[in-house]
Amino acid sequence: MKAIVVSFGVGLVFAVGLAFGGMTQASKVVGFLDFFGNWDPSLMFVMGGAIAIYLPLFRLVRKRPLSALGFEMGIPTRRDLDPRLIGGAALFGIGWGLGGFCPGPGIVALASGVGMAAVFVASMLAGMVLFRIVDHLRTSASAVVGGAR
């Protein structure tokens, strides 16, 4: 129960942060990515401010096996680079620059009533489902090709 309340509260504050940060205004996102044109560096302060908090506090808790509410700490451990990471990031970036939204701001803007955000979120969910289908097909195909058990 406490974890649910925490999650909701975190989502709420996160949304407020995204809004004040400017992430929910596609024009600010595009302005930030417009390195070669009319550059608006504002979003750098969003990421910078967030890292300024998270980085030092993370170091305090990273060795703990359990969270304060007793859950296993789900800190990722992979450090290798692979084509999926880079390819996925590349595709995500293109979408971010074209639409001006990334997942969080899209959801928040949707709730605030921005019509384009609804278009974005719907197609984002479709894209996530599409990935799941494609990935599943690839995994099944290689299992078949790899030989019978």
Partner: protein, 143 residues
């Protein structure tokens, strides 16, 4: 520089950083929106409620801020049709799942953990994002 808003952006960043850390500290979870949302599409037992609550919080925040500060929610980017935004959404949805993260998961949490994967991912999506904006501006005319 146009429309530079360092203070409100910094405030936003501090709130995001604090909220993200709270999720780790209390729940042991990484505040990566694409991961949290994506995990809802492949629900596992006992792993759904907190995700629904988180997204619920995002939505509640959106309703609240949309009411208090509608000026923070304008969509005024030129040359973006609904078709283009749909394609953009597909790319974001597919790409974040393939690449295991987005601006929150990689850009904030991952970089803070000094994860080489996240640093590379962030540099990559910033670069292709810049390229996309450059081409959109070239094709559509300067913004």
């Amino acid at each position: 520089m146009e429309n530079f808003t360092p203070w409100s952006s910094l405030l936003g960043g501090l709130l995001i950083g604090g909220a993200s850390f709270a999720l780790l500290f209390f729940n042991g979870r990484i505040a990566g929106i694409s991961g949290i949302t994506g995990g809802l599409l492949t629900p596992k037992a006992n792993d759904v409620a907190w995700r629904v609550a988180f997204v619920g919080g995002l939505l509640a925040g959106g309703v609240l801020m949309g009411f208090l500060r509608p000026d923070l929610f304008t969509y005024t980017v030129p040359y973006r049709s609904a078709v283009m935004v749909s394609v953009a959404g597909l790319l974001v949805g597919f790409g974040t799942r393939l690449g295991s993260g987005c601006t929150s998961g990689h850009g904030v949490c991952g970089i803070s953990r000094l994860s080489p994967r996240s640093v590379v991912a962030t540099v990559t999506f910033m670069a292709t994002g810049a390229a996309a904006v450059f081409f959109a501006n070239s094709v559509g005319g300067a913004s």
